[in-house]
């Protein structure tokens, strides 16, 4: 454990001690302002609802809501933090020296992950803090339930980006060159973010030709849920929309029984437990694979 903490602290000071810090600072500040701008613009246009949470999912019509930006570009933060974590040390010949000290190999992975998650946490809370501050300035004060939902939103975002961090760390173990692992990371990101939805649609259409059947829509949706991007989006939409009460398609006849009042947070969470578990499982799978490969890997000076 001491090894894990020592390595995590060293990695953190690496981030803060260098130009990378200004890079993160710019991301946090820029994204925070953008979130507030998008949200406030969206709120102005929204006629019906005026809630604090709308800040993150309101759209101005020309630009997508803020949470889409996180969904698309959050993974890049994770990949950027992790793509060179192991293979850079290998290339610089520091890995063998590091491992000749009394630290377990998994402590190296854990330490680096921990420092990455710290950066992600700081970034996410920084962005949401700036946006919330600006919202309060214009008189949009969140209530307790909204604040709790904001925290869940933050936690989901951290989990989502941490998953990409774990994946890119795994790639940094598999690939010897940092450029290869970076490209692989971006390729996987591009695949799930842009290409998986059309592929899912294609598969569903081929299996069930009737485009309006509930089976086809369900199949396509479930296929889409293979992608962490979809899992995150659905989970966050439910978290930020207290009135959302179902994720799967339902028939019009069922819809007439729905009472459109907001749900308490725990009821909303009930809807997205599978998503949360699936996201956690993805992190664990990446971790476990990393351990197994790294422990068996040959480390030479």
């Amino acid at each position: 454990m001491t090894g894990t903490v020592s390595i995590a602290l060293k990695e953190l000071s690496d981030y803060f001690g260098t130009k990378r810090f200004w890079f993160f600072f710019a991301i946090i500040y820029g994204a925070g302002l953008m979130a507030a701008y998008l949200g406030i613009q969206g709120l102005v246009q929204a006629r019906v609802e005026r809630s604090f949470l709308l800040l993150f999912r309101a759209t101005t019509g020309t630009l997508p809501p803020f949470l889409f930006f996180i969904m698309y570009f959050g993974p890049l933060l994770g990949v950027a933090l992790g793509f060179d974590s192991i293979n850079k040390e290998r290339a610089k010949n520091t890995l063998v020296r590091l491992l000749s000290n009394p630290v377990h190999r998994d402590a190296v992975i854990n330490g680096k992950f921990l420092s990455g998650v710290s950066i992600i946490t700081i970034t996410v809370f920084g962005i949401l803090g700036i946006a919330t501050g600006l919202a309060i300035r214009i008189g949009l004060v969140p209530n307790i339930d909204e604040l709790a939902r904001l925290v869940v939103f933050a936690a989901l975002t951290i989990l989502y980006i941490a998953g990409w961090l774990a994946l890119s760390q795994l790639l940094s173990i598999i690939f010897q060159h940092t450029s290869t692992s970076a490209i692989a990371g971006f390729a996987i990101w591009g695949f799930f973010t842009f290409f998986w939805a059309p592929i899912a649609s294609l598969i569903a259409t081929n299996l069930i030709p009737d485009p309006n059947s509930i089976e086809k829509i369900t199949l396509e949706q479930n296929l889409n849920r293979i992608s962490p991007t979809t899992l995150y989006l659905e989970a966050v939409l439910v978290t930020l929309t207290p009135t959302a009460r179902f994720l799967n398609p339902i028939s019009i006849s069922e819809l007439q029984y729905v009472v459109p009042n907001p749900l308490p947070l725990l009821q909303s969470l009930n809807l997205i437990w599978p998503h949360i578990i699936a996201l956690i499982a993805l992190v664990l799978v990446c971790f476990l694979t990393s351990y197994i490969i790294f422990v068996k890997q040959e480390v030479r000076g």
């Binding site: 060293k10 000749s100 000290n101 000076g301």
Partner: protein, 313 residues
């Protein structure tokens, strides 16, 4: 009797069809400097990595300081200092920061670590550059920093992989001094090298390692006499006015096997140490004898002989 610091039985490492280390039986006693010599690619580094538990052997057993490197790696790594052949430091950090990080990984408290780092940087002659980033360091300075990194945890056993390769003579002398000092401090040292003349001065015993096999092990004297020359003694005499008549006279002496001459140097292979007798023969034959000595084996020579044998076979 003290148990050996390192002991291996039939240690083998294969990479596919390639046998990197071939059933190695090695014993390094406590408190000695053992030189692990051989050309590049002989399996020296692989052996060292197995001793550290960083590489898993294909077959065989080993004990290092009483531990099995695969079963109790952390206990072992607390006691072993390792200097890799391709030494890498965190280039954006200063020498001091790099060493403080190593200290932290070894569980040395911060106040003690600061103290030790200062002393060790002094000892390796880097105190002036201690707050410079490692990226500004020369190869020789990095190597000394590597030695500092090893010494920092006050190891009982030091595994030094090519500690003197690629640095200038002054740097080599500095590193060898540090190694000799560590031995005086009671540490066991295993160092590998392909530059024989550099390390033969400080090694108590050497092992010659070619193509994954340890083909000879012992003191340099022992290797020279027993293994190469067999039971022969080699005497060299300096006779400035030597002629072929003298060669003939010497070859008639009892116990002499073979005589050869190049310039003023007469090389005599004989069955026993007959230096006194030879001197008498040379002088009474009317020649001038300026020097007579028994041949000291240089490691290069021993090594060249082995290597020759290998290429012929």
């Amino acid at each position: 009797m003290l148990q050996p610091a390192i002991q291996t039985w039939g240690l083998t490492k294969k990479y596919g069809d390639l046998v990197a280390v071939d059933s190695l039986d090695l014993e390094v006693k406590q408190g000695e400097i053992y030189g692990f010599l051989g050309p590049n690619g002989a399996g020296k580094t692989t052996t060292i990595l197995m001793l550290l538990g960083l590489t898993e052997p294909t077959a065989g057993r080993l004990r290092v300081l009483g531990y099995d490197p695969l079963r109790e790696p952390l206990k072992l790594k607390r006691l072993v200092g390792y200097l890799p052949e391709n030494l890498g430091f965190y280039e954006d950090m200063t020498a001091r920061q790099n060493l403080l990080y190593t200290a932290k990984l070894n569980g040395i408290s911060f106040s003690e670590a600061e103290d030790r780092v200062k002393k060790i940087l002094d000892a390796v002659g880097l105190s002036d550059a201690s707050d410079k980033k490692v990226s500004t360091y020369s190869k020789g300075m990095k190597q000394r920093l590597g030695m500092a990194d090893v010494l920092l945890k006050d190891p009982s056993l030091m595994l030094l992989d090519e500690p003197t390769t690629g640095i200038d003579p002054e740097g080599v002398r500095h590193i060898l001094d540090i190694i000799a000092e560590s031995k005086a401090g009671g540490k066991t040292i295993l160092l590998s090298s392909h530059l024989l003349y550099q390390v033969q001065k400080i090694c108590d015993r050497v092992g010659i390692f070619v193509k994954g096999r340890l083909i000879a092990s012992g003191t340099i004297q022992h290797l020279g006499k027993e293994v190469i020359a067999g039971d022969k003694y080699i005497v060299e005499a300096e006779v400035p006015d030597a002629t072929s008549a003298l060669e003939e006279a010497v070859s008639r002496v009892d116990d002499v096997i073979k005589v050869s001459r190049s310039g003023a140097t007469l090389t005599v292979e004989c069955k026993s140490d007959i230096r006194g007798h030879l001197a008498k023969v040379i002088v009474t034959s009317g020649y001038t004898l300026t020097q007579i000595r028994s041949h000291e084996y240089a490691l290069d020579e021993i090594y060249a002989r082995y290597f020759e044998g290998e290429t012929k076979a």
